[in-house]
C-alpha cells in the first residue's frame, strides 16, 4: 500500500530560511518533518511513498537524491569529483516525488498520484502533521467499513482554548480543547482511501479535506476512525519548537521506532 504525502503547499511562518523552504522540510532534531512522518509509516511496513511536491519541489528531490550520502560518511575528492561512501546508512524506502504544481489544490495533487498507485487502497496524509495514529487499526477499520474513505479524526489541538459561552456577554469559563469537549472532532490529517475515489475527483478542484470529504459524506462513503492519542499539525515556529522540545526530551509521541 502506498502512502501519498501532500507536501506542495506554500511555506508558512514556520520557515526560518529567508527564502523559504517547503514546510515539510522544516527540521525537528536535525531531520525534516517529512522524514519523521515516513519513518513512522515504515514501522507499519509501509515503505512506498509518493510525495506530491509543489512549492520548491527541488529541495525535496535533492534531499532524497542525496539521502544516501547525507546519512553516510563520505569522502569527496574535489579535484576528481569523486565521492566515496564509507558506511551504508539508509532506509529501505521507495520514494516517488511528483511535481504537482505550485498552486494546485490538494484534490488536484492527489489526482496526479493516481498513475503511481498499484493496489486498491492507499493512504493520504499531510506533510505537516505528526501523530501516533495506529495505522494498522486505521487500515482494519477501513476494510471493515468498506467505504471509499476512512478518515482519522481527533480532538482539536493547539493553543486555542474553547470558551464556554452560554449567551453573548456571559462566558462561563474556558478549557483546553482536549480535556472537555466531547463533540468536536477534527480531521487528523491521515486517511485511507480506495481507488474508487478517482471517479469522484474527476471534476474536483477543491481541497481534499473539505470539498472531497463533503462530497463523499453526501453519498455516505466516508467513515471516521477515532484517534485518542497524540497528533499535532506543525504550522508555526511555535509548533515546531514544541515538537523540537518533545524530541529532545526523548519522549516524542510519534517516535514509535528505536534508534
Amino acid at each position: 500500500m502506498e502512502v501519498v504525502i501532500l507536501a506542495g503547499g506554500l511555506p508558512s511562518s514556520i520557515s526560518e530560511q529567508p527564502d523559504g523552504i517547503p514546510k515539510p522540510m522544516a527540521e525537528i532534531g536535525g531531520r525534516p518533518l517529512l522524514w519523521h512522518i515516513m519513518k513512522s509509516f515504515s514501522q507499519y511496513g509501509l515503505t512506498d511513498f509518493i510525495i506530491c511536491a509543489g512549492y520548491r519541489s527541488y529541495v525535496i528531490k535533492q534531499y532524497f537524491l542525496n539521502y544516501y550520502v547525507y546519512k553516510s560518511d563520505i569522502t569527496v575528492d574535489l579535484a576528481k569529483n569523486k565521492v566515496t561512501v564509507h558506511n551504508k546508512v539508509t532506509e529501505p524506502w521507495a520514494v516517488t516525488i511528483l511535481d504537482t504544481g505550485v498552486n494546485s489544490s490538494t484534490a488536484e495533487r492527489v489526482k496526479q498520484a493516481a498513475p503511481y498507485l498499484e493496489g486498491d487502497d492507499f493512504i493520504v496524509c499531510y506533510g505537516d502533521c505528526l501523530s501516533d495514529i495506529n495505522i494498522n487499526f486505521l487500515i482494519d477499520s477501513h476494510s471493515t467499513d468498506g467505504h471509499i474513505m476512512t478518515a482519522a479524526v481527533a480532538k482539536p489541538t493547539g493553543r486555542n482554548t474553547i470558551m464556554n459561552i452560554v449567551q453573548p456577554g456571559d462566558i462561563k469559563g474556558s478549557c483546553i480543547p482536549s480535556s472537555d469537549i466531547h463533540n468536536a472532532w477534527v480531521n487528523a490529517c491521515t486517511m485511507v482511501v480506495n481507488k474508487r475515489i478517482f471517479a469522484q475527483l474527476e471534476d474536483m478542484r477543491g481541497t481534499f479535506e473539505t470539498d472531497v470529504l463533503n462530497r463523499l459524506a453526501q453519498i455516505h462513503e466516508v467513515s471516521a476512525f477515532y484517534h485518542d492519542g497524540f497528533w499535532c499539525p506543525v504550522e508555526t515556529v511555535r509548533d515546531r519548537n514544541h515538537m523540537q522540545q518533545l524530541w529532545e526530551s526523548g519522549h516524542a509521541p510519534w517516535k514509535i521506532w528505536n534508534d
Partner: protein, 263 residues
C-alpha cells in the same frame, strides 16, 4: 597527515547567521570560514581533511558535493542532461565528512572519526577560527616536545582600546587600538596529536578541552605552541564583519600567500 576540523556545533552566539547554516559555512568574502581554514592548511601541503559534522551537517556535505560544478566552467546539454567540464581549477583536497551527531561533545566527535585517521600523528582545529599559524613550525614544536599533544595558544586582541595618559599633564598621550597582553593565553586549536590521545577520551562524554586535556597535562603529555601572529574566532556577527573587512583589504593575514599557488 590528516587534518581534523570540528564543524558540528550549533554556534548559538552567532544565531543570527547560524539559523540558516552551520557556523563553519558562514562566509567571509563569499567563501565559508571552513574553506579559509582548509586553504591555509593546504598552502603548507596538507590537503586531506576530516570534517566532524553535526548541526546541519548535510549542508556541509552538499557544499563539497557541489564544489566541483560550482567552481568549474560547465556546459550543460539540457536535452540529454549531459554535462561537460570546460575548465576547472579545483583544490586538490580530499574531504571526508563524518556524521558525528547533533549534540556530541568534542571528545566524542574525535572518537567517531578515528577510523579515518591513518598514521600515528594528526592535526586538529576548530571550524570557526582563522589565523596565520605557522604550521611547519607548529609541527617542529610538536616533534621536539615529543608529547602526545601540542596545542596552539595565543593572546587574543583585547576587547577595549588602551589609553596612555600623561602623569604630568593628565592628558591623553595615545590610544592603542585593541591592546594585546592584557589577556591570558587561550587555546585556539591548530593542534597536533599523537593517536595516543584516543586513550584519554574516556567514553567521549566530555569536551576534549576539559577532562582529556586535564589528564594529558597531568601526565606531562601536553605541549604548547605560542602563536604570536594573527588569530580570530568567529563567534559573533561583529567578528564576522571584522573578518570580512580584513578580507576586503586584500591582505587578510590568513590569506594564502600569492607565491603558494594551487597544484
Amino acid at each position: 597527515m590528516k587534518v581534523v576540523i570540528f564543524a558540528g556545533g550549533k554556534g548559538t552566539r552567532i544565531a543570527e547567521e547560524s539559523v540558516y547554516r552551520p557556523k563553519p559555512l558562514i562566509e567571509i568574502g563569499g567563501k565559508p570560514i571552513l574553506w579559509h581554514i582548509m586553504d591555509w592548511y593546504s598552502s603548507f601541503g596538507y590537503n586531506e581533511f576530516i570534517i566532524c559534522c553535526g548541526y546541519k551537517g548535510q549542508m556541509i556535505k552538499q557544499y563539497f558535493l557541489d564544489y566541483y560544478t560550482k567552481n568549474s566552467d560547465i556546459k550543460v546539454d539540457l536535452e540529454t542532461g549531459g554535462m561537460r567540464i570546460l575548465s576547472q581549477n579545483i583544490e586538490p583536497w580530499k574531504v571526508t565528512l563524518v556524521n558525528t551527531g547533533l549534540g556530541t561533545l568534542t571528545s566524542g566527535r574525535l572518537m567517531r572519526v578515528r577510523r579515518y585517521i591513518d598514521g600515528d600523528t594528526f592535526m586538529m582545529t576548530y571550524g570557526d577560527g582563522v589565523g596565520n599559524i605557522d604550521i611547519p613550525s607548529l609541527l617542529k614544536q610538536y616533534y621536539s616536545n615529543g608529547k602526545f599533544a601540542t596545542i596552539s595558544l595565543t593572546k587574543p586582541e583585547g576587547r577595549f582600546g588602551a589609553v596612555q595618559i600623561s602623569r604630568d599633564t593628565g592628558l591623553v598621550e595615545c590610544f592603542r587600538e585593541k591592546a594585546r597582553g592584557d589577556q591570558s593565553w587561550v587555546n585556539i586549536g591548530f593542534s597536533v596529536f599523537s593517536t595516543e590521545i584516543f586513550n584519554y577520551l574516556g567514553d567521549g562524554n566530555s569536551m576534549l578541552e576539559d577532562k582529556p586535556y586535564e589528564l594529558l597535562a597531568k601526565d606531562g603529555q601536553m605541549g604548547a605552541y605560542f602563536h604570536k601572529g594573527f588569530w580570530s574566532p568567529m563567534d559573533t556577527v561583529k567578528d564576522k564583519e571584522y573578518l570580512e573587512g580584513l578580507w576586503n583589504t586584500g591582505s587578510a593575514p590568513w590569506k594564502r600567500p600569492p607565491a603558494s599557488t594551487k597544484h
